[in-house]
């Protein structure tokens, strides 16, 4: 198969379908891949990075040296040490105490879901809009020769020996 025919086959629907499928599979594998923390300290660090220091601006509990952050780190360490709750449950416990503002990564439910959904919706709308616009512009840019144009070309051809 030469390059031209390969390009042509990619441009056809099955090519795009394979590409979309591959993207989906890679994303699924990426999301499902078990690269979670192994040691207790890794778990403590991972959870601390998800929690905002309640008395700081934009700092995680992991980074902050504030006393409130230290208390939260201690509590995370204690909870991890007891081994009764998983990471999400510990985060939920802290969210229950301090409220949703303590989450550095917004939830994917309720009003917070807009944070995830809006950029995707805007991107899809923008791509769709651009595609439509480009198609229109392309069709407009196609010049159609008028009778006068053809007459001029015919005259010129006659002049050429």
């Amino acid at each position: 198969m030469n390059l031209k025919s390969a390009n042509r086959s990619i441009k056809r629907w099955p090519g795009w379908l394979v590409l979309a499928l591959a993207t989906f599979v890679l994303l699924a594998v990426g999301i499902a891949a078990d690269n979670g923390p192994q040691t207790q300290q890794d778990r403590i660090d991972a959870i601390s990075k998800r929690i905002a220091c309640p008395t700081c601006q934009g700092e995680s509990v992991y980074v902050s040296r504030a006393s409130s952050a230290e208390s939260i780190r201690n509590e995370i360490a204690r909870q991890v040490g007891t081994g009764q709750l998983n990471d999400d449950e510990i985060v939920a416990y802290l969210e229950d105490s301090f409220g949703g503002d303590v989450l550095l990564v917004p939830r994917s439910t309720g009003l917070d879901a807009l944070v995830w959904a809006l950029p995707v919706a805007v991107a899809v709308a923008a791509i769709a809009g651009l595609t439509m616009a480009f198609r229109r512009w392309r069709s407009q840019s196609l010049l159609v020769a008028t009778d006068d144009d053809e007459a001029i070309v015919a005259d010129l051809r006659k002049e050429v020996p």
């Binding site: 208390s71 969210e95 301090f98 409220g99 809006l118 229109r136």
Partner: protein, 188 residues
């Protein structure tokens, strides 16, 4: 293609962008501002968190054993200016409560402070109620306390009834407790 038909997608895109902006403004308007002065908490109306800790000067404190009494937890630090300012109000409230048939139990929860500093402060300024040590901040985290002073009221059934952030006043506490007692007796 006519100029009018060309304008249609532009209008649609403009309308879409406008709609997104309006939605964004609505979200900003209805979303909680995150103000820390708010006395909101997910714990309100729920059973109080488990609190088991040492008392300053010896002894154990277990919040669940205090069921049957109104409990007031005051998160405190001797270097915090609002804590120092509200302290006389808390002392007055404690005096007023002692005249009640079933006085509320007041506890100071020591927040990120040394035992010596707390002892010195109370020796100088009064307040003979128990002081609960919270060395690892476990109690503060359980109640979601990030800044002091904060005052929490737990009812005799062990449910969290009120969270007060910032300075409290004797009048406010007296009125609040009076209302709670009326509600509990079925009058309010």
């Amino acid at each position: 293609m006519s100029e009018q038909s060309m304008r249609r997608p532009v209008r649609a895109v403009a309308l879409g962008v406008g709609a997104v902006l309006i939605a964004f403004l609505v979200v900003l308007a209805v979303t909680h501002s995150g103000a820390k002065e708010s006395a909101e908490s997910n714990l309100l109306g729920k059973p109080a968190p488990v609190v088991e800790a040492e008392l300053l000067g010896g002894g154990k404190f277990n919040l669940s054993y205090r069921k049957g009494s109104w409990v007031i937890l005051n998160f405190f630090n001797s270097t915090c200016v609002p804590c120092v300012r509200e302290h006389p109000e808390l002392v007055k409230f404690a005096e007023a409560e002692s005249a009640q048939d079933e006085p509320a139990e007041i506890y100071t929860v020591i927040n990120d402070d040394s035992d010596t500093a707390v002892r010195t402060f109370f020796d100088k300024n009064g307040g003979d109620w128990p002081k609960v040590k919270d060395d690892n901040g476990t109690i503060a985290v359980a109640f979601g306390v990030a800044k002091v002073p904060e005052t929490w009221i737990v009812d005799p059934n062990g449910f969290v009834r009120m969270r007060i952030t910032g300075e409290i006043s004797t009048d406010f506490l007296n009125e609040t407790m009076s209302n709670f007692r009326l509600q509990a007796s079925g009058v309010g």
